[in-house]
């Protein structure tokens, strides 16, 4: 296993898929000559040329639409949103077109494309540049939503997303690009969409999260292990569709659930998980499913306020203590 940064792992996935399938192309702002605003596409322009690594003007709605059109006629676009805060301008193409073309045409079209890029808060970027947008996409049938928590998963899942026949929203954490981790050396490493991964085994509490939240969860699990609390950590990896089997199995074992997400609480991933868990495991629950989310406010700029608003290990520990009635 090579030790790679998230950025490098994603870059490998793009590189391998572009080499494997010439229908795959990358399009977005600064993906080419600038090598990517976050350098995820480093070197790809030099290797594949300007027709397959396409710099766009600042025109999110339309280059998203260009991707939809290209996918409808058989190409496999990877559309990079410089950050998903800007994807809000393109939601009509994603919600009304990418997600609905197959249905509206009675199955005449597939829209095999990936919308990818950084999501969530980085550091002191204020309200318009710090949004965790996953809720909105998860609500929409026709879309799949994927959010990796470690470089290895990032590579395997992005390759699967690019090969998928449906539009996939692939959300990367804006501040995890430099995070390093072991990445499979397998010839062609693909992680199927639609499956959770148990990142840590435990028997007392189930913590369900994804992306950045997994690291808060593992941190809390580590901290509480000393106190004799055995925490199981489930990484959703694919948020839509949800792999409920794995979740149910864990919940029926622990009877206690904490969800961790960076997005706003109302109608969030934690809310959906809570609904399904209390529906499927009502008699197994020993405590209410408890969520840890971003505070319900637009992100303020100040460092101390931002730190207060974002979920952290301490919050997860507190939530675990609550569901285990240790607090």
């Amino acid at each position: 296993m090579a030790e790679l940064s998230f950025r490098e792992a994603l870059n490998q996935a793009l590189d391998e898929e572009m080499a494997r399938d010439e229908r795959v192309f990358l399009m977005g702002e600064e993906v080419g000559y600038y090598d990517g605003a976050y350098k995820v596409s480093q070197g790809l322009l030099a290797k594949y040329g300007a027709l397959r690594v396409v710099d766009t003007p600042i025109t999110e709605l339309s280059f998203a639409g260009v991707g939809v059109g290209a996918a409808m006629v058989g190409l496999r676009p990877v559309i990079e949103m410089m950050t998903f805060n800007f994807a809000i301008l393109a939601l009509d193409q994603i919600f009304n077109h990418a997600a609905k073309m197959r249905l509206m045409s009675g199955g005449q079209y597939s829209v095999p494309m990936v919308f990818r890029g950084p999501n969530g808060a980085a550091h002191m970027l204020s309200a318009q540049h710090s949004q965790a947008t996953e809720n909105w996409f998860c609500n929409v049938p026709g879309l799949k939503v994927v959010m990796p928590s470690i470089p290895n998963d990032g590579k395997g899942l992005l390759k699967a997303a690019i090969r998928d026949e449906d539009p996939v929203i692939f959300l990367e954490s804006e501040i995890m690009y430099n995070m390093k981790g072991p990445v499979s050396d397998a010839e062609d490493y693909v992680i199927p969409l639609g499956q959770c991964d148990v990142k840590r085994q435990g028997k007392d509490v189930t913590v369900i999260s994804y992306s950045k939240g997994i690291h808060h969860a593992l941190g809390a699990a580590e901290a509480l292990a000393g106190e004799g609390v055995s925490v199981e950590v489930i990484d959703l990896m694919t948020l839509r569709p949800l792999d409920m089997e794995t979740i149910r199995r864990s919940v029926k074992k622990t009877g206690r659930v904490v969800t961790v997400e960076e997005s706003w609480p109302y109608g969030g991933i934690g809310a959906e998980l809570a609904y399904r868990i209390q529906m499927d495991c009502f008699d197994w629950l020993d405590a209410p499913v408890t969520r840890v989310t971003q505070l319900d406010v637009p992100m303020p700029y100040a460092e101390n306020l931002e730190a207060l608003v974002l979920p952290n290990v301490r919050d997860v520990v507190a939530a675990i203590n609550a569901v285990t009635y240790r607090s």
């Binding site: 025109t59 639409g65 059109g69 290209a70 077109h97 509206m104 009675g106 199955g107 005449q108």
Partner: protein
């Protein structure tokens, strides 16, 4: 333009170029669309069609002339006023009528309805309901043609109301900047629902907007199928040979309301009658008869044939079955199983 729009026959140079056989063919296509939609209107009145239904009556010359200038491999996309484009680009009268009635035999299996007709095989890519939103998608087809060096061209139709959407401008910039083989055809029928052009756009010569993107812009009388064919042909050539996009403003008129539910109180009967004088079907008829390219009897026979096809489509549609409830989870994802029961509400719903 207004002058020309009232002309009694098609532009003679364009007609010479077009020739007898193609003009005869164009008239038959226009008659098919006209009679089909008149039939659809009756079915709607009879309650056999519901939802939004936007008739193309009056604008047939635009789609028939423009599509007549394309090759089979080319791509076509339009908005929700799509019956005409669909009928001459891969959808059958039976498939369209069945779709309007929401039947399993419809061109979109009853999923799309009037606004979402598609014939993927024939390169007719819809049928879209969000004003202006399909224009970037057309640029995407153009991008794919450039990507594959396939030499095919995309025709993108939209109303003059769509010209005020940002997506229109963004797409023109991309098409010109990247050299995409796309012909943008604005069907200027002077109204967006109840809003006349001058209350929506700061300028009235819409084709001049092409200048803002270093693109060729043309204006043509969309009621004249021959002129429409010639102007589109030049643009298609420019796209195929030079990879340069064109913006065509086709001035036309819709004789019916915006949709079946629109009384169209926003315009006078006089205005409509005046425009009826330049009915594209009348212009083509006059041209053919004047030139002795067709007899009135022949034309009447074509008309009867069109009516027969419309009637047949209606019978077919009425006899067709509704979609199966078991398929409600299909066409959401490639794999129907991706639609998980536990992502829906009550299982009994599917019993």
């Amino acid at each position: 333009m207004a002058e020309q729009a009232r002309a009694y026959v098609c532009d003679s140079d364009a007609t010479d170029e077009l020739g007898r056989d193609r003009l005869r063919d164009f008239l038959q296509q226009m008659l098919l669309i006209r009679r089909f939609e008149e039939r659809a209107a009756r079915e709607y009145a009879a309650g056999r069609i519901s939802g939004f239904c936007h008739l193309y009556i009056g604008q047939e010359g635009v789609a028939v002339g423009a599509l007549g200038a394309t090759e089979a491999r080319d791509h076509v996309i339009t908005a929700y006023r799509d019956h005409g484009h669909a009928l001459i680009r891969g959808c059958t009268p039976r498939g369209v009528m069945a779709e309007l009635m929401g039947k399993a035999t419809g061109s979109s299996r009853g999923r799309g309805g009037s606004m979402h007709l598609f014939a993927a095989e024939a390169g007719f890519h819809g049928g879209h309901g969000i004003v202006g939103a399909h224009i970037p998608i057309a640029a995407g087809f153009g991008f794919a043609s450039k990507y594959r060096k396939s030499g095919d061209v995309t025709l993108c139709f939209f109303g003059e109301g769509a010209i005020n959407q940002g997506a229109f401008y963004e797409s023109l910039n991309l098409a010109s900047l990247w050299g995409l083989p796309v012909v943008f055809i604005c069907e200027n029928n002077y109204y967006a629902m109840g809003t006349p052009l001058q209350r929506a756009s700061a300028i009235s010569d819409l084709f001049t907007k092409a200048d803002a993107f270093g693109m060729r812009g043309d204006v043509v009388n969309g009621m004249d199928v021959a002129a429409m064919w010639r102007t589109t042909g030049e643009a298609v050539q420019r796209a195929r040979a030079e990879m340069r996009p064109t913006l065509i403003e086709a001035r036309c008129y819709r004789f019916r309301g915006h949709s079946m539910s629109d009384p169209a109180k926003y315009r006078t009967k006089e205005e409509v009658d005046e425009r009826r004088a330049s009915d594209p079907i009348q212009l083509a008829t006059n041209t053919l008869t004047e030139r002795d390219w067709a007899t009135q009897d022949e034309i009447d026979a074509w008309d009867e044939d069109a009516k027969a096809k419309a009637a047949d489509s209606s019978e077919f549609a009425q006899e067709s079955p509704e979609p199966s409830l078991d398929d409600v989870g299909n066409y959401v994802y490639a794999d129907p199983m991706q639609w998980r029961p536990d992502e829906a509400t009550f299982p009994h719903r599917r019993d």
